[in-house]
Symmetry: C2
Subunit: 211 residues, 2 copies
């Protein structure tokens, strides 16, 4: 599940690889994607060359390091879709997504910023967005989601949730929980809401050099 045929990797190499991934996960989570490669290497007790040998580019490292989160994201969306009540499913997805993103600063950055080069995340992200759009439409039909909701609003919320990455981790997941609740309140259909200002195209987001 990890590598292809070319080399089964020697035992010490495989051990290092694992320690590198652990260090990367920890540092990406707390510091974001901008941690120096060498810092990761140091933290893993490994020379810079070894790090570069295993993961020639930071992108490849990030892809492997965030595989778990990526899977969690996929699962979370499917759970939302499976929920019989679409509005409940929609809420679940928002809550879980906010929490997931609150837990790792690096994951948020990787997930949000369509990478400079092609990124495996893009496909997964597209899948998630498509599924949520489906869910949103069902929730609208059921009359629980405000009719003027558009998918870009969700992206807006994800970008916004990204903004809370300036506080300690514990406070952050608490904050993002409350944030999710407020977001849900904002999206809930209500007799008293006034028309929303027009949407802005967000999708071709220029991420401005993340890696």
């Amino acid at each position: 599940m990890t590598d292809r045929l070319p080399h089964p990797l020697r035992s010490d190499a495989l051990d290092n690889r694992e320690r590198i991934l652990d260090a990367a996960r920890a540092l990406f989570a707390t510091e974001g994607l901008n941690v120096p490669m060498r810092e990761i290497a140091r933290h893993a007790g490994v020379g810079p060359a070894t790090l570069y040998r295993r993961f020639p580019t930071k992108q490849m490292l990030a892809t492997e390091a965030f595989a778990d989160e990526m899977r969690a994201c996929h699962v979370l969306v499917e759970e939302g879709l499976a929920e019989p009540d679409p509005w409940r499913g929609f809420c679940l997805v928002i809550e879980k997504t906010c929490e997931l993103h609150a837990r790792s600063r690096g994951f948020t950055e990787a997930f949000m910023s369509t990478f400079p080069e092609a990124m495996d995340f893009a496909a997964e992200r597209a899948y998630a967005l498509r599924s949520i759009a489906e869910l949103a439409n069902r929730a609208k039909d059921a009359g629980h989601l405000r009719p003027d909701f558009v998918l870009d609003d969700l992206i807006l919320m994800l970008m916004a949730n990204r903004g809370i990455h300036t506080i300690s981790k514990t406070a952050r997941v608490a904050a993002s929980r409350r944030f999710a609740a407020l977001v849900i309140q904002a999206f809930r259909a209500s007799p008293q809401h006034s028309p929303l200002p027009p949407v802005a195209r967000l999708s071709p987001a220029a991420p401005g050099k993340v890696m």
Copy 2:
């Protein structure tokens, strides 16, 4: 209104000073506070030494560069307070604040992150928050703002609004307008909202090195 007595500044020096501030405003707005000092100098058509002579630290430069925004922020809050309907005033403050922050990435960073060292912004920020708290209480009493709103929720929203700084400026102010509308919807008192998750302490925000 600009400098103290020690030196009335020579004409060319004053001219350079002005061009530096212009460049700083432009670059801070688009690139954020992390632009290299030299880039500002280059953009102003000035040597690095001149820049450092006028503004020994980036913090001083930022303080001067954002004086207008700071004033605008002050005025905006006072307008909100002056509004006869507190809920309307509250909404106005949110809308205007979001727009103000959407217009300059650097201002958001400066305003939000209690600077590493003491910052003149802190006082202004404290004033704004105090005033908004006052406004919020009035809006609660009038029954338009949800009773479980706390000031930290507003900070949360500001931090979130900061998250949208990854898109082009035009799209950004549109996005932040819509964001503000959604935020207002989230804060409005409503019979159907469920209890919010507990707040997290945000104020002693560890900004993690901004300058």
